[in-house]
């Protein structure tokens, strides 16, 4: 296996204005490293505000102020000049959560799907219409639906348009940011099956963000668990779900209600709220809410350390 994406020490920060002219920096992603193998799915999970979206979009330079090193299919992404970046963008596309607001309501479905090809110029102009037709078929939409406007589609169909648009430039990496969260369960199943079929057929690599751990369990090969801008645990699917090691991951998994009667886990409630992201604690960022905390946790940040094959944890007690 080869890595399609190698991220080293990625940090993404946002300027936050507080009071008169004073700017502080919010490190939404703070010194994060990971790899994604070609054809695989890396899921990113963690609570709201932990930096999942920012990490994924930061990789593609679609957000904020990034530092570190990102190698995507042999291209040093963070170092690209604007024109090279525009062309390289063909390799990474995003499917957003909200199929309602992410599609231009005034464009017909075919124009929406075609748009990335036009702006990046991946295909000769005379071949683009045929490519649009092919994409419609791939995502399970009918040819006559190409002429319709977004409001004439159901939520699931709109998400299919979003997927077709993301596929238009033959990307290698697709970022799915809560791509099924707004959908009803029956439609969600259709879209998840479609994403997996496309991955098998086209060899796609996914960065898959979801707050639904059942969905993550179904879709992922590896999982990165984020807490306050840091990866606190990184593992393959079986290791993470069957033997989580970080206290935050354990609490997260124990919080998920399930229909599986055998899955009677003791619930580990996380007390309190996360600390102020503008003023993160010096040691482990989870220390203030952790059941297993000891003095050493508060003095130094535990590094992400390999504890078993394909399994890294940032906790001194793991």
């Amino acid at each position: 296996m080869t890595a399609l994406l190698t991220v080293e020490n990625l940090s993404v920060r946002f300027p936050i204005k507080r009071g008169w002219g004073k700017t502080s920096w919010l490190y939404a992603v703070d010194d994060v490293s990971f790899e994604v193998q070609r054809g695989e799915t890396l899921a990113i999970v963690g609570e709201s505000g932990s930096g999942k979206t920012t990490a994924a979009l930061g990789v593609a330079r679609l957000v904020g102020n990034s530092g570190g090193k990102v190698d995507l299919a042999g291209e040093d992404f963070l170092a690209l000049e604007p024109e090279a970046l525009r062309r390289a963008r063909a390799k990474v596309q995003v499917i957003f959560q909200d199929p309602y607001s992410s599609l231009n309501p005034r464009l017909r479905a075919e124009a929406i799907v075609r748009e990335p090809m036009d702006s990046i110029g991946t295909l000769p102009v005379d071949q683009r219409a045929a490519r649009v037709a092919e994409l419609f078929e791939q995502v399970g939409l009918r040819p006559e639906q190409m002429k319709l406007f977004p409001h004439q589609f159901s939520g699931g169909q709109r998400q299919r348009i979003g997927i077709a648009r993301a596929l238009a430039t033959n990307p290698e990496l697709i970022i799915c940011d809560e791509a099924v969260s707004a959908l009803d369960v029956a439609v969600q199943a259709q879209i998840l099956n479609l994403l997996r079929r496309l991955q098998r057929d086209l060899g796609l690599t996914y960065l898959f963000i979801s707050h639904d751990l059942g969905v993550v369990q179904h879709m992922s090969d590896h999982i990165a668990v984020m807490y306050m801008g840091k990866i606190v645990e990184y593992a393959d699917r079986l290791s993470l779900f069957n033997s989580p090691r970080h206290p935050y991951t354990k609490a997260l998994l124990s919080a998920v209600p399930s229909v599986d009667q055998k899955r009677k886990v003791e619930r580990l409630l996380i007390p309190g709220d996360p600390p102020d992201p503008l003023n993160p604690p010096r040691g482990c960022r989870f220390a203030s809410r952790c059941h297993f905390v000891e003095d050493a946790c508060r003095s130094e940040q535990p590094p992400l350390t390999e504890v078993a094959a394909h399994h890294k944890v940032a906790c001194i007690k793991a």
Partner: protein
């Protein structure tokens, strides 16, 4: 068996559409017993919130109306009550938590003022007494430092805290019934777990019966005693949670359970495709048809399903409205 606290009989709610009247709730009957948690599940647009709003007497004005049936609360028919009578029940004996906590709290008042206001209106409490009670309630819903947080404005709180404030308001008058419409949809799972724990404890301590509206079968199986599966304004199936989930008697229930990837006790390499229920919920205009409204999406459907509405069949305490329920 204890007397039901709430009994809905053959309820029919019609909405005015441009094309005429459509039954958004069609012949719905159910019972809620004291202290129990009943869950409504179903896809978007199936009529879960409409049922809740009907119980609250809050149907959208001029659009929705009760066209038949009874809603018996403590033996009185709420469908026949006037606004004043409903107001005295609403927020007092029956209260509701809405889907989006930010839009249902008023941004210009502190959370303490908003809780106190409910107590003064329904219980006639003095300003000081209501304020003191507001602090107790915030404490009861586990807001740390209730004494100082009581003067916070909603925007100063996290999403989970705002939802807990909503619960505090809903519980202010010690209602007999609490209706929670997707109370945790916008929240992190760890916060959801806190809210569910809270609701469970409150149910146990105060005997409040809870109607929990959700689309999450995991939540249903952890939280509820009985469940009602709604489809296109009708009850597809109902019964105690454990048997309904382990042996659904309606193809729709079966689809809802098997199309979702559930967290398993022991994960394996196996990863079969998810079961797909093709199609979507029919448009409101076709809700009244004399047919099984699920037929267009059902892999067991035949001509009978498409031409006459299936009656309810009982399997012990479980009921299913499907012509082929006994084959499932």
């Amino acid at each position: 068996m204890t007397e039901p606290l709430l009994k809905i009989e053959n309820l029919r709610i019609e909405l005015a559409l441009r094309s005429g009247q459509a039954p958004v709730i069609d012949d719905l009957s159910l019972e809620l017993r004291p202290g129990e948690t009943l869950s409504f599940v179903g896809e978007s647009g199936c009529g879960k919130s409409m049922t809740a709003l009907a119980i609250m007497g809050l149907l959208p004005e001029k659009v929705g109306s009760i066209a038949g049936g009874r809603i018996l609360f403590d033996g009185r028919d709420m469908a026949q009550m006037n606004d004043a009578q409903l107001r005295s029940i609403r927020g007092n004996e029956i209260s509701m938590i809405f889907q989006e906590p930010m839009t249902s709290l008023n941004p210009v008042y502190t959370v303490g003022e908003q809780i106190a206001e409910v107590l003064r209106r329904h219980k006639g409490m003095s300003k000081q007494a209501a304020w003191a009670r507001a602090i107790e309630l915030l404490d009861a819903v586990r807001i740390p430092n209730a004494k100082s947080r009581v003067s916070d404005y909603p925007h100063q709180m996290s999403g989970g805290q705002r939802q807990r404030v909503m619960i505090a308001i809903a519980l202010a008058c010690a209602p007999k019934i609490l209706i929670a419409d997707e109370p945790t949809t916008a929240l992190d799972v760890t916060v959801q777990a806190q809210i569910f724990d809270l609701l469970r404890d409150l149910g146990r301590e105060t005997g409040t019966a809870i109607i929990l509206i959700t689309h999450d079968m995991g939540a249903v199986s952890e939280m509820a005693d009985r469940m009602v599966v709604m489809y296109a304004g009708r009850k597809a199936e109902d019964g105690p949670v454990a048997p309904v989930i382990s042996h659904p008697r309606h193809p729709y229930t079966k689809g809802l359970i098997s199309c979702v990837p559930h967290l398993l006790a022991k994960l394996t390499e196996q990863r079969p495709d998810l079961t797909e229920v093709p199609g979507i919920v029919p448009a409101l205009a076709s809700f009244g048809a004399d047919a099984c409204l699920f037929a267009s999406r059902c892999d067991m459907a035949d001509d009978k399903c498409r031409s006459s509405r299936p009656p309810e069949v009982a399997f012990g305490e479980q009921h299913s409205a499907c012509w082929k329920a006994d084959q499932l």
